[in-house]
Amino acid sequence: MSAILPPPDRVWWKQPIDRVEGTWIAIALVWCLIMFFMMPYWHVFGKQNLANEAFKTTPEAYTRKAQEVVDKYTVRTETAQNIPVVHPPAGSDVYLVARLWSWWPILELEAGKSYRIHLMSMDWLHGFSLQPENINIEVHPGYDHVLTVTPTAPGTYSVICNEYCGINHHTMASKIYVK
């Protein structure tokens, strides 16, 4: 007569379902379906989705593309290490290189304009975490991940690494400027 003993009824599958359980199962099932359909709904009507556009590539090919953008659109350099600040035209492809333990280059974007931002790592896994917006994307080596991003408000944003990548993980931080 309890959960630690075999069920007393030979055929327990035909036991009537108690009203409490039946009601709860019906309510819970409806809620589960609502949660399920929220995801496709947001793909159609929401604005924050990943297109999952990605390409297999190599660090060399990816760095070459990043270098081309830096050569064309660098507006200034920052810090003693002369990290380029890139101000690309709206709609263009921008490449962000993640490696142990830095982001390269620094991006300068315009509010309300869209950009195709590419993310890829040169070595281990990294995490693209845009603060204080709190947008977080996994960055893989060997996979060029394309996000179409539209910054909303001007300001200085931080990019920090939030996938553990070794001893200097906490030093891997950069900026994105939005004008």
Binding site: R10, W13, K14, Q15, I17, F55, K56
Partner: protein, 58 residues
């Protein structure tokens, strides 16, 4: 879900065949097969196929 059966008398109960769902739930090895095949197909195989099919950058 099957209709609840009530007020069945004793002899009928003992002779009543075990419902298919109960037989499934009483068969650990069939459950083991289900529990491995379902995620292996829906999660691992489907996922790996998608990764393999990611296009190469131009």
């Amino acid at each position: 879900m099957a209709e609840p059966t009530q007020n069945v008398n004793f002899e009928e109960v003992l002779e009543e065949p075990i419902p298919a769902m109960q037989q499934l739930l009483d068969n650990p090895f069939l459950l083991l097969f289900i529990g491995i095949a379902t995620p292996a197909v829906l999660y691992i195989i489907w996922g790996v196929m998608e990764i393999v099919n990611i296009p190469v950058a131009k």
